[in-house]
């Protein structure tokens, strides 16, 4: 099976959906924990320049979550519900609190590739093409200039 070591992305032309696929050198169980354990989740969700503060976290079917991205005085809050939490599939909603009308429905599939690697597929469905473009546009604003500072640090201190 082809390994997808770099994130692959697809913006569906018919539906306001963004799909992404990425393989990880980890077991399905580890990938699941990295998405459901708040301590682990806060370490990677990012973006690089921001610190993540988990305010509420109940990663069970029917549970909910809220976290805040912090950079100095600036705070952005996000929240949503864990609609369904299974070891191979997580369905959740995602809302940026400053735009409460915009709700994305996210589905994550965790697929065992059988050789110590695991494939993560994600799908984000929003309510209009305009919303999706807004999501894509958010990529313009954050992260482009952040580089790989955080990864470099992790490489330097041997975490990677």
């Amino acid at each position: 099976m082809t390994r997808i070591t770099e994130t692959a992305i697809e913006a569906d032309p018919k539906l306001p959906i963004i799909r992404m696929t990425r393989d990880f050198a980890a077991t399905p169980g580890q990938l699941f924990r990295a998405h459901t354990d708040p301590v682990l989740f806060a370490q990677w969700i990012g973006p690089d320049a921001m610190h993540t503060r988990i305010e509420h976290w109940d990663a069970r079917t029917g549970g909910s979550w809220r976290f805040v991205s912090v950079q100095g005085e600036i705070e952005y809050a996000f929240r949503g519900c864990f609609h369904e939490v299974r070891h191979d599939r997580i369905v959740q909603t995602f809302t940026f609190e400053a735009e409460p009308d915009g709700v994305a429905l996210q589905t994550l599939w965790i697929e065992d590739l059988g050789d110590g690697r695991t494939r993560l597929r994600t799908q984000s469905l929003v309510d209009s093409f305009e919303s999706r473009d807004g999501w894509l546009a958010s990529g313009m604003e954050t992260g482009v200039n952040e580089g790989y500072a955080k990864l470099d640090r992790m490489l330097a201190d041997g975490t990677v």
Partner: protein
Amino acid sequence: MTADTLSRVFSALADPTRRNIVTRLAEGDATVGQLAEPYQMTLQAVYKHLRVLEDAGLVTRPHGPQPRPAHLEATAFDVMDDWIERYRRLAEQRYRRLDAVLAAMNDTGTKEERSP
């Protein structure tokens, strides 16, 4: 390119007939009559689709006498690809952080954050 322009590109391509028109124009310029041939629709309807594609900057038609062949503007797609690529790069950065977290889980055998 503004989010507004990008919206027009995406919504222009949200329609299957317009995607089909784009696919055919990728093979070469074509007149409205030629584009209408395979469809059960009026020239008027094809014009309508073309206008949406023109508004999105995906297709141009030269001024002048009829027939004016429609031409695909490949650069409009480049800009859209660029936006998607930036978004993809952000996701890749996020997943590299996740790589590091997963690697640390392997090393320590626990789910807690540890110094190496």
